[in-house]
Symmetry: C5
Subunit: 234 residues, 5 copies
């Protein structure tokens, strides 16, 4: 399950949901509250190969946690199995946790960077993870797709060159064409939010930026274990 060389292996389905606790959670006594919260994260984790938990409370206004799940797409039936199992896992605790934002897509080899898999590419199945995750839906303008391939490659080269100056920051690109409203889900992991903010700032004056139709709402998450999260629940 750790071979994620997208050029040769099967694609990965990457899935992100932010959840908000219902008022019913806050009416439970604290011990029951923590127990149910842990049972919920365990249930979600049992449905797929890799699951990560992030606090988004205090970072964005209408959710408490972000759950990142990754599944290997070994056959055409994989998405059907993933979503059916996920529904059952969520419904076991639907009185307590409501989904708020869902973003998902599948990996594919990039057409702009055909070199061997980069050291800056996120492996969604790795055990070691960075403390911060940033993720957003991304859609290019109609004009972008009518530019010639060399023009597009040139602009992407500028973009890639800047990204390479921030070696600590890793990236994952999911394709959502025809699956959700956005074209891509762009995912970053970092140990340093200040550094990541600098990277985004430095990308502002690239030519390719003109061809961004939408790159919001952005989600930033702070990685925690289920136990660390349960401690914040009172």
């Amino acid at each position: 399950m750790t071979d994620t060389d997208n050029e040769t292996g099967p694609p990965t389905l990457g899935h992100f949901t932010t959840y908000r606790a219902t008022q019913r959670l806050w009416s439970l006594d604290p011990e029951e509250r923590r127990k149910r919260a842990l049972a919920w994260t365990e249930g979600l984790g049992a449905t797929t190969e890799a699951t990560q938990l992030y606090i988004v409370q205090g970072i964005e206004s209408d959710a408490d946690v972000l759950v990142w799940s990754s599944a290997v797409v070994e056959s055409e039936e994989a998405p059907l199995r993933f979503f059916t199992a996920r529904a059952a896992a969520e419904n076991a605790h639907r009185d307590l946790f409501e989904p708020r934002h869902i973003l998902w897509g599948m990996t594919r080899p990039s057409q702009y960077s055909r070199a061997a898999k980069s050291a800056q590419e996120i492996d969604p199945f790795a055990a070691e993870r960075a403390p911060y995750l940033v993720m957003y839906p991304f859609t290019k303008t109609a004009d972008w797709y009518l530019l010639g391939p060399e023009t597009r490659q040139g602009m992407m080269n500028e973009h890639i060159r800047i990204g390479k100056q921030f070696r600590e920051i890793t990236q994952l690109l999911l394709y959502s064409f025809g699956l959700q409203d956005q074209e891509f889900v762009v995912v970053y992991e970092t140990h340093d939010l200040q550094l990541f903010s600098r990277l985004v700032y430095d990308l502002r004056d690239t030519e390719a930026r003109r061809y961004t139709k939408a790159d919001t709402p952005l989600h930033t998450g702070v990685r925690v274990s289920p136990q660390e999260w349960a401690k914040t629940l009172g």
Copy 2:
């Protein structure tokens, strides 16, 4: 009821509703919950010629299932009868299921593809169905309608040519002019979401894309029987 040759037969009213379960459903005991859910799908199914059920939970954030209903429009009174019967069927379980998004329209022979009915055209009354459904409202820009007919035909030919390269993917076009806010409802069925995503990607650099005013929110559904769905309810 299986003759869906739109060129000669009566038009079809195609109707899609996403529903979200209320918190009251989750407060019922699991057996009662499944029983009420099955009674609800049965009631909806009894009001029209063809009804399909899809899980959208985990795929989009504010709904649980998508119901696709199709009715033959044999007379001017058909929509009146359809919507009156539908209201009664929904109201028998309004404490449990709330409508969230509704998209509907009626079929009409395409002006751009007048050949005999294509093998890629969806028959809404067929018994065999694909596991995935993708559907979205679609509106063209005002400028599109002021182009000459030959220019429009040329752009559509490019579009149709790409679609034909994906023979496994079938399509249905509903006209919603004057019925809802969008101009069309575009519906696809596929056995392979990865392949479908590639088709949408390949259509991005066609000229006609410039004349798309809106093609969101897109809905993707995973087909299940009512019994399979009931199993996910806990």
Copy 3:
């Protein structure tokens, strides 16, 4: 009350509200539910000269019925009296029915079609009504108002000529300038939604369409008597 010749008589205030039933309605036993629903429609009907009821459930997602009320504006106090009486009628059943969308305006002789009152003009006080109603807010672009009067008249002539080819479809135009956000409320009645959809399609490639700033959200309603509606409530 049947003289609606707008050129000579007083203007009409036309008023549309979509309502959604609260969860409390669904918690009542069915007989009480139907009784309260009928009392509510009766109360609304008693406040003005003409009231019509339409099902919008299943047609749009966040309402159950549409109520169309018409009042003769015989003096400056007429709107004050209309809205005060309406508030009292609504408040007698506010635990059961919540307003969702409100559109209103007043009639005025058209500046583009000064001929004697057309056979295609809706009489809001007539007893006989068509089974389908379509209605939407309408606002033109700032540029439209800076065109010369002859250019505007020419574009409107094209528009009017197409409308006249659909003799069965009748129309009412309400002015909302300075009363609500839209400039007009456009209302149609028809016996045939398929035909109406064709009319809207045919109007898409007129020049005047370029000067449409907004014509959504569109509301389509299926006419029912209060008793027919009560039967759908379970």
Copy 4:
């Protein structure tokens, strides 16, 4: 408190809130309901120099009444005192009335009409009031502010000339730059909504209209005494 000559006296803080009744109000018995409603309006009225009440129920969809309060800004602390006292007055009845839309600003001498105070300028502290109020947030485009002063004055002259043809209609302009999202709150009082609608229509083909970035949502209110309003509550 009746000297409102803005050129020489202190500015006025003008404040508008629309409120919606909670479901709890409708669960009270009618006598208690009317008593609490009157106590609420009395409490709001006690916090400032002038308070007016308008029904907006049936006119816009998500509120029941509009409260217009005016306070003299005699010192820098005046807004602090106004908002602190207002919070206490609202909170005494927060189980029954929820704020929905808030618009506010402060008066300032107009730069376009420096003549002595016009007869068409609203005195917010006058005892006599018109039966209808219309009010909306107003923001100009960035381009407007880059036009030369003479061009702007010319456009405003055209605007003012049309307004003067409607002598019965009075106006108040509040500045909201840096206080809320809009630049201005524009307020009108009239005895005749039909006439007011004509004024807005006549202003549509002025040049200045091109430089309007936003002038919605518009609020129209029907003036009532607290006692008249209480009667509509059942």
Copy 5:
């Protein structure tokens, strides 16, 4: 903790949340209500170096108070620690206070004003504070970032020159690139809202204004001690 010289010291994380009281707060008896409100503000204050409280009730429609927290970013783990502690503090009173809007970012030396730290720069850790706070998210257009550095410096000079004419008004700039949807959070403190409104008005006809993509929703707050606020709760 009072050394906030951003050029040499560590950056500051600035964090703003507006909160709305739930209906449950209003159902408590007044003494319990005030006690719980004070415990909540105390809990939030205990998680970071500096916390300020502002009433926004009556100023904006969907919140009651605004809490401004500032934390020194001494290491990469600081945001992780800040958000985890904040979650725990909020969750102890989640039945009573719901977050509505969250804006945050980190300080950085400005590239346009490299002089020694200005007297008009806000020190978030100072004990003395102004009675009014104004704050909004700010994003520039894509075109801004493609202008040459000298053009940008020229436009900023005009902007800075006007700001310096209002010596009483202080400012803080937080960078949010890659952390939230906006690029910056702009914060002002003032003793005089009328004067601040004049400053914003005077900035409207600067060239740089053309390059503002978004500067709303703006939040204005009136500073209170927790005890003063508790008094308004009934």
